[in-house]
Symmetry: C2
Subunit: 215 residues, 2 copies
């Protein structure tokens, strides 16, 4: 049902759940041994339950029970449900970010900006589609969706690429618009409600980039 959520990397039992994703990865000074152990157990349990029953059917209490831990501990570690889901996405999100920030071209640096922009959209469409149910859970509240580090990274990336491509005008707003096309809920709607094939969405992105970057 759910895609394998690929747990947080082994080297990060002391990683705070609310930590910024790639760009501002300042590690919290210390976390007590028992706290770290519980975080790991909770992530493992949550990951298993999500794989078994789908993200939307996993309750916080069930996660706590599966990790043999009190409910309060779950909330202390991850803040709220959204925080837990984000923590589950953390590893995959980091890998994805690395591909366009420092990976090989055309996604990473080295290719012309427009080419990178095209590749970025396609990569994002595929990445989000792969973890769609986790992303949907992690973006429940429509208000908090925009201030999350993961989105900031994308906006910045697109903004920079647009500037490199020589696009003039209100590049910031243009970047927000482009990212609107890659919005989780929109992708979910077009793919699952309207049953549009992936190829059409990817072609749509390429067309959009072309429209926007031509001078």
């Amino acid at each position: 049902m759910a895609p394998p959520p690929s747990l947080a990397p082994a080297e990060s039992p002391s990683t705070p759940a609310t930590r910024a994703l790639l760009p501002l990865a300042n590690d919290r000074p210390q976390e007590r041994a028992d706290a770290a152990r519980n975080r790991a157990r909770l992530l493992e349990a949550a990951s298993r339950l999500v794989a078994e029953h789908g993200a939307e059917h996993v309750t916080m209490e069930a996660v706590a029970a599966a990790a043999s831990v009190g409910k309060g501990t779950v909330f202390r570690r991850f803040g709220d449900r959204v925080g837990l889901m984000r923590a589950l996405l953390d590893h995959a999100e980091r890998e994805y970010q690395e591909t366009f920030l420092s990976g090989p071209p055309p996604l990473g640096p080295g290719a012309p900006a427009v080419r990178r922009l095209e590749a970025f959209g396609v990569a994002t469409l595929r990445h989000v589609t792969k973890y769609i149910d986790l992303y949907l859970e992690a973006e429940q509240c429509s208000t908090r969706r925009y201030t999350v580090p993961a989105r900031t990274v994308r906006v910045t990336h697109v903004t920079v690429l647009l500037q490199e491509a020589g696009v003039t005008g209100d590049v910031e707003l243009l970047a927000e618009t482009l990212l609107g096309y890659l919005d989780t809920a929109l992708i979910n709607y077009l793919r699952n409600e309207r049953a549009l094939p992936a190829e059409r969405l990817e072609a749509g992105w390429t067309e959009l980039v072309a429209r926007v970057t031509r001078r």
Copy 2:
């Protein structure tokens, strides 16, 4: 705090809450007198509470109590919280829809398509901004946001205008993209979180339309 939500029109005590907005306004055959009375009382109470405390602080139970009605009745009439919020928006939404479907140009028919498109975006930005907190409440669940009649109307409208403007390519996806710029949560973020002035958002829309429609 909340803008006056301007109750549903007086002629519609028998209007079902889940009725489609403007385009498919088929009235439900009959609604018992007591049911109609309770609907009116609930809408009045909800409207007052929203104006007093803000939409996000109004609980379903409070609405029921304020209308001297059982909680079950609220849910029977409006389905769920989102349904109630939409019902509160109904009147304003209809007026807004009429302005671009059959109102005077440049918003309504009569002006060239590109001109109408520009006017549509500006009008939508203003309309959504005016009722922003109600819209935010009415779009809580990120999944159900897209299948709502109000959105369908807008997508169709933009699609038609794009075609009239002679835009080629995947016009449907392009319409979705343009509407992404007018998304409630995005507007809220840009206006209230990032504090962008309304003029900039409106200029951004015009610029976007220009980019997309030029051949």
